[in-house]
Chain length 198, copies 2
Amino acid sequence: MLSSPSGAGKSTLSRSLLEKDDNISMSVSMTTREPRPGEVDGVHYNFTSQDEFDALVAADGFLEYATVFENSYGTPAEPVEAALRNGKDVLFDIDWQGTQQLNQRVGADLVRIFILPPSKEELLNRLKSRAQDSDEVVAKRMAKANSEISHWAEYDYVIINDDLKAAEAELFTILNAERMKRARQSGLSDFVSELIKD
Amino acid sequence: MLSSPSGAGKSTLSRSLLEKDDNISMSVSMTTREPRPGEVDGVHYNFTSQDEFDALVAADGFLEYATVFENSYGTPAEPVEAALRNGKDVLFDIDWQGTQQLNQRVGADLVRIFILPPSKEELLNRLKSRAQDSDEVVAKRMAKANSEISHWAEYDYVIINDDLKAAEAELFTILNAERMKRARQSGLSDFVSELIKD
């Protein structure tokens, strides 16, 4: 799980992880909202109707879901469970509320990483530089970012994204170490049985 | 905590960790047994009398201790706690019994790594190659190694030491990732306060 406020570089880091590591795939959220220009169905979101969404909720088919401003968003369980069964890792890009729900459901196998911007000034710059925005719009984004940041202590790891290359290296270090966890190394039990048999 | 049977390469990996990382120091065990040829007081062990050892036990001054064949061995708490207070990491080279005791006392801050040999044949080779040993002596070592290996599932991480360079890299990956754990990054709370203040 990668969470962060907007402007902390999460999208760039996610893209880099997916490009450089063949064993991880992105979890694509499902949503009832309309696609925005440039958004591709199945890539940015799986776009669906409210009825279909509600049916999947009723069937306990989401790992987490939420409704924001009359639009529903959720993480369908089936593709995630299929990937894990095939020995693949899954990358989630969800906010702190989704992380809490997912953590309840997935438990110890979830690795929660929070990405922070290097300073308040830099965060403000990144939030501003997106377009020619009014002070009010920027202030709203900053308030939203602060609200997300306030949940940093619910994560296992924290990366301060000062330098993109360094942050990327840190992300891969965490990924590789977590893969060395005993509980994630499949076949270890058989390997040890061979090692100690008479 | 690095544990392993003899012959898995633990000493070489420990030495490399201590040489290449300035922020980690070795915990030196205290023992009541006589120094063997080549053993240096304060380096391989802190050699002490049974009376002094017992006094430290009575004062709850050990993180873990045990008596093996009438000799006592233990990890004095004070140097470890001093190192941690100074922001240093501490490397322990103790068997599974000591690891269990230490885990009870130190809890979540203890990172337990188990090193396995790549195969039964290789383990046997390494146990034999130490000297011109009788079959009986080698069989005893093998039994001791198997007994240690049987506790592999009590560790957080497992490294199979097939190639020394690769095993060393894995060890550093674990160390560096663990240092990125939120709970171990000092000053993070103040950093975030600055980030979200008005």
